[in-house]
């Protein structure tokens, strides 16, 4: 775009024009940035402010600046257990989703071009149906008279229906089903970028296919593994519909507890504090695990 005038040095003219263009582009981005920041930030600021208030039964809250709600949550064994259970369920679900999605994503990435679109559509397909509907589908599969029990009873493998619905196992299965497409698509997009000739080179040097995958493909796919893990872990930590519908009344996770405090108990400050503890824990664990994975693979690369 900019052409240096004859006689003028490129050093003095281009940077000045560049600076103006850069400043203009920054200015143009300001309204959208402010809007996005407001949409994302304002509800959080508001909820954080609420979390510092005191509970009032009919006014919902009284203005205050106190950390009492946070202290009460950490002192309460019930909520500590709910938080630990949430972390455990999220960690297991993320790990299983990663293990299941990796081969599928690799298969799609290496599939012939004419099948690839169809395979990706198949992976995306469950996302077209809401979480709630999918959880309802799992209820039909896992119930005492559901598909699994009918099949096992029909085959004579069991005499009494198995208790699957309203158990932690049901929740983990349901959550994995929800997050699997996100993990698969994230991994597939990164695996797609890895040149197959690298695997062929590893094969030529005597590596078996699994060794080539483990030593060549996987390290190169680490950005995708990290991105997919982070995305899926966050989704698992915040799962709502699946634990409510498949966990039953005895199984508690954080997101349903936030909802219960805000709408059931009308305790907005406590609900706000719970939400921020959930967010803080998710953020801390996400950052810690990302750094751990990066360091671990950086060491191996050396």
């Amino acid at each position: 775009m900019s052409i240096a005038a004859p006689g003028a040095s490129a050093h003095s003219i281009i940077p000045a024009a560049g600076r103006t263009a850069q400043a203009r582009s920054v200015l143009l981005a300001v309204p959208a940035t402010l809007l996005v920041a407001a949409i994302l930030g304002l509800p959080l600021v508001l909820l954080f402010r609420y979390s510092l208030n005191q509970y009032d039964r009919y006014d919902l809250m009284r203005e205050a600046l106190t950390l009492d709600n946070y202290v009460a949550i950490f002192r309460d064994a019930f909520f500590r257990n709910v938080l630990l259970r949430t972390i455990l369920v999220a960690a297991i679900s993320t790990a299983v989703a990663l293990a299941l999605a990796l081969p599928v994503a690799y298969f799609i990435a290496r599939a012939p071009a004419r099948f690839k679109s169809a395979l990706i559509i198949l992976v995306v397909f469950p996302l077209l149906v809401g979480n709630l509907v999918r959880a309802a589908g799992w209820m039909a599969v896992m119930g005492n008279r559901g598909f699994v029990n009918q099949l096992l009873l029909g085959l004579g493998l069991i005499d009494e229906p198995l208790e699957i619905l309203y158990t932690p196992t049901a929740v983990v299965i349901g959550i994995i089903a929800v997050v699997l497409p996100f993990m698969t698509l994230t991994l597939q997009s990164v695996l797609e970028q890895i040149d197959p000739s690298l695997e062929e080179a590893a094969g030529n040097l005597g590596a078996r296919p699994f060794t080539a995958f483990r030593r060549v493909v996987l390290p190169l796919a680490m950005p995708g593994v990290i991105a997919g893990t982070v995305l899926v872990f966050i989704l698992c930590m915040n799962a709502y519909a699946t634990p409510v519908l498949l966990g039953g009344p005895r199984f508690h996770m954080m997101a349903p507890q936030v909802y219960e405090q805000i709408t059931g108990q009308s305790n907005w400050p406590f609900g706000g504090a719970l939400a921020f503890i959930l967010m803080g824990t998710t953020l801390a664990l996400t950052i810690a695990s990302t750094q751990l994975m990066q360091k671990s693979y950086a060491r191996r690369a050396l």
């Binding site: 919902l60 019930f78 409510v244 039953g248 009344p249 005895r250």
Partner: protein, 349 residues
């Protein structure tokens, strides 16, 4: 150039249009000026909303020019909305539909009008025992024992603790307040102190009681034989019978616990005229009979006569009515958080 001009014009038009829209929204123009008042009814969705529309709005209000809009949500969010809006000069709801326990709780917050009975002439026909100063009784039922007659023949709430029903008694999590009353009266206590009921429920836990999350889950459990007996609304039993689930019901010897669904008018309702028209229409015999026949809840007005067979199925006889165990609303409202905490942490743990 032409394209650029066109684009500029569009942007300007968009800008001015958006500005006008924003300012009219900020000034509250639109609803107030352009159209006649609209009565906003905060209610559950699904069948209940459809029946309100089919039995009250379409036949009784629309001909009078009363326009109704629905604000559909579960009762928790709607309760919060009423409390959050109660200090505003102008709220967003004209009618609040809630169960009796929740309506009493909201009335304590001061969000509801004391009803002007002169504007609800049909209120004179309402059963006196179901009337409150802050709400109109819409429909009612009672917590009876719903059972599978092939396996169980209970007569009293206390039969839930019978060893022969071990592992076959079911409870619905959402009904925990009423279940605490069931256990309390089975233990010989009064509905004003649930402590005997808590001890009694811990005994039921040892007998392998099944706690299910919803009425729908309970219907499936009764159908499959997973549960033989459960305390449940008589209206719900009628719905299940109509759906082919093999269940019967009996009013317990201790007396059934009534459930009442009511309509209240927030103090800051924008369309009180519409709200009172709605209240009066809801008590019309035809509307009450429509609800009874479709939902299985008993009418709350004396002049709504059901066919004898239906009346016997849905309503409570004079002897049963005399024994109804009334909920102590004040006790439940004050103790709600403690009761919920006990239920979640002790009983369900």
């Amino acid at each position: 150039m032409a394209d650029a001009r066109k684009l500029q014009l569009t942007r300007r038009a968009f800008g001015s249009g958006a500005g006008a829209l924003a300012s009219s929204a900020a000034l509250g123009i639109g609803r107030a000026r352009a159209q006649p008042a609209t009565c906003v009814v905060g209610t559950w969705g699904g069948d209940y909303q459809n029946l309100l529309d089919a039995n009250i709005v379409k036949p009784l209000l629309e001909p009078k020019g009363v326009n109704v809009q629905w604000d559909v949500a579960a009762q928790g969010p709607r309760k919060n909305k009423l409390m959050a809006e109660r200090r505003l000069p102008r709220g967003t709801l004209d009618i609040a539909c809630l169960s009796d326990v929740d309506m009493y709780d909201i009335s304590l917050s001061g969000a509801l009008d004391t009803l002007d009975e002169s504007k609800v002439p049909n209120l004179k026909n309402a059963v006196a025992a179901l009337r409150h100063a802050y709400a109109v009784p819409h429909i009612y039922s009672g917590m009876v024992l719903v059972y599978n007659p092939a396996h169980a023949q209970p007569n009293a709430y206390a039969d839930l603790w019978d060893e022969k029903y071990r592992g076959k008694v079911g409870l619905v999590d959402l009904l925990f307040t009423q279940i605490l009353i069931v256990a309390t009266v089975a233990a010989g206590g009064t509905p004003s102190d649930f402590e005997p009921g808590k001890k009694k429920l811990m005994e039921l836990k040892k007998l392998g009681v099944r706690v299910l999350p919803s009425n729908e889950a309970m219907a499936q459990a009764l159908q499959s034989g997973e549960v033989w007996i459960t305390p449940m609304w008589r209206a719900r039993c009628v719905q299940w019978q109509n759906a082919g689930i093999p269940v019967a019901n009996v009013a317990p010897a201790e007396g059934a616990i009534p459930i009442l669904f009511e309509f209240g008018v927030p103090k800051n309702a924008p369309d009180k005229e519409g709200a009172y028209a709605f209240l009066n229409a809801s008590l019309e015999p035809a509307a009450q009979i429509g609800f009874a026949q479709k939902m299985g809840y008993a009418p709350t007005v004396a002049n709504a006569q059901l066919p004898p067979e239906q009346a016997q199925k849905l309503t409570f006889s004079a002897a049963e009515q005399a024994k109804l165990v009334k909920t102590d609303y004040d006790y439940v409202a004050k103790e709600y958080q403690n009761l919920k905490q006990w239920w979640d942490r002790e009983f369900l743990a």
